[in-house]
Amino acid sequence: MNIHEYQAKEILRANGIPVPPGEVATTPDEAVSIAERYGGTVVVKAQVHSGGRGKAGGVKLATTAAEVREHAEAILGMTISDLTVEKILITPAEDIETEAYVGILIDRKSQAATFMVSAEGGIDIEQVAHTDPDAIRKLTVDPRYGLMNHQAYWLANSLYDDPALVKQAAKIIRQLHAAFTSSGASMIEINPLITTTSGEVKAIDAKMTIDDSELFRHPELVEYRDLSAEPAPETKAREADLSYVKLEGNVGCCVNGAGLAMATMDLVKYYGGEPANFLDIGGSSNPEKVVTALEIITSDPNVKVILFNIFGGITRCDDVARGIVEATKRIDITPPIVIRLIGTNEKEGLDILEEAGFTAFSSMDEVVERAVQMVKTG
């Protein structure tokens, strides 16, 4: 789960990291009144789950109330990477001397939290990792020891020469690690970590992803979820424990298992079609889940055909068949449905479908080819 900059900053602050103050506004009036309270120059920052906000015009300096209003009006409602800006953060501008990068994320290869820091701030770390790996210092945190004090200094030493700055940065790195573990994060990025002309080290921008599997431990973080930043069908899928990702095509896919779901989308493309979505109904799906899945798929007006690809393992074919039949009774489904159904309780499932007037394929290639054909022939 991605959270907004202002939320990430709340977590960093709670862990003792120096972060300048800031307040969120949803209207230009609010923005102006916050800015007037701070006085001086402020930064108006779009709060969306996307990088490149600066380049997209979503981050602006303002020195007068008129400027604040002008920028707030421009940024609120603007679209960045398909996301509409509904909130802006107003924060006093800082006197920046240098910019560095400090990030921590779960690294697959070392199977542990890994820091990446660079004295070059404001960068795209992935880019730098490719073009100038020496500019990045990397450290894997052994889960047996946690972040050790000397390691925090080792990282901080690569950022600054001035001992006073190194000391502040080492402390921030330790606090960042504490924030990472205590909030169940899978990624936190401070970019940039600045030094001010008066010699203070501060985090002035932050990105953070919470491990979805940790949310049960952190009810307070669940509150951070911004439903306005998530399309309604995805919210509905998540709440029903389904995995759904909307795509641009017209073949609605309903599959059990993530790998098979991806392979199904790929096969749609292989046969010349375009998948409308990724949808995994999961392992032990009951009929009710299938109904919800169909509601979600049919809510996408682009969908011209609905393709079921079910290989029953834990999933029982009769459950899926029952769900399909139930859904056709309860909701008005315009696009045609083509079904592949094999595996556990296959016979029972096929019987249920047959009784409701459906036929089913047993081969994945056949069903996908048929679905694509149906779209093409209209």
Binding site: A261, M262, D280, G313
Partner: protein, 298 residues
Amino acid sequence: MAILVDENTKLVVQGITGRDGSFHTLQIMEYGTAVVAGVTPGKGGQTFQGPGGLGVPIFNSMDEAVAETGANTSVVYVPPAFAASAVEEAADAGISLVVAITEGIPVQDMARAHAFARDRGARVLGPNCPGVISPGKAKVGIISGDIVTPGPVGVISRSGTLTYEAVMLLTKAGVGQTTCVGIGGDPLIGTNFVDVLEAFAADGDTEAIVMIGEIGGTDEQEAAEWVSANLDIPVVGFIAGQTAPPGRRMGHAGAIISGSSGTAEDKMKAFEENGIAVAERPADIVGLIQAVLSAKFA
């Protein structure tokens, strides 16, 4: 022969009294695998009723279960909040292979559990995996015994149902398997492609390998390089997620393209560059395997 599990497997089911645990224990026992114990804290002393009147003793802890039964393998059907601890308990009790089926275990929990299992010399398969089956010998996990048949092909996959698809096609075509291994869809898994490839390389009977990857991470790329440098057995590969958009998690916690890293294109390229035949569709796997097998015996 076979890898990871076989006739010598003595299995403990962790979470045997839960919904998934009890259901799959029956299936595992029906396949003929020796389930010697179950563990559910607080239910020690009870008996799990298996098929054909076979009773499985339930213990409060892995420690007792292993001490009483000499178990060497465990399978974890414990809810996410407690599953990493169950893996640690199994490793601490001296289990040598821990198969973690559970999906949704917090990643930081698993980071510690993996480190602990390494320290204890235990191999973890998964988590978020369908387990492993050696046709005709042993089944540990949830891969259906109906779709496999003994034969010369080793199968490794990050996905569950996609494995079923590939294995069913092989079986239908009369191509049997030594062992089918689901390594799991999580970002931090205990056994990766290379680990399983090494095991197949050491197995005398595996004559070809199917390797099914997906988007996210670079495990397939490293496996491809390892194959090219170390493996004599021919490998056929497939990658799921060619149409997946970047930055979105595709069901599996590990199936996500981060920035430009972990794309299907990258992985397929790595396969091709390292002599691994790439199947365009799951259905093409069968033909490619048959080709490498007949070339071998030509």
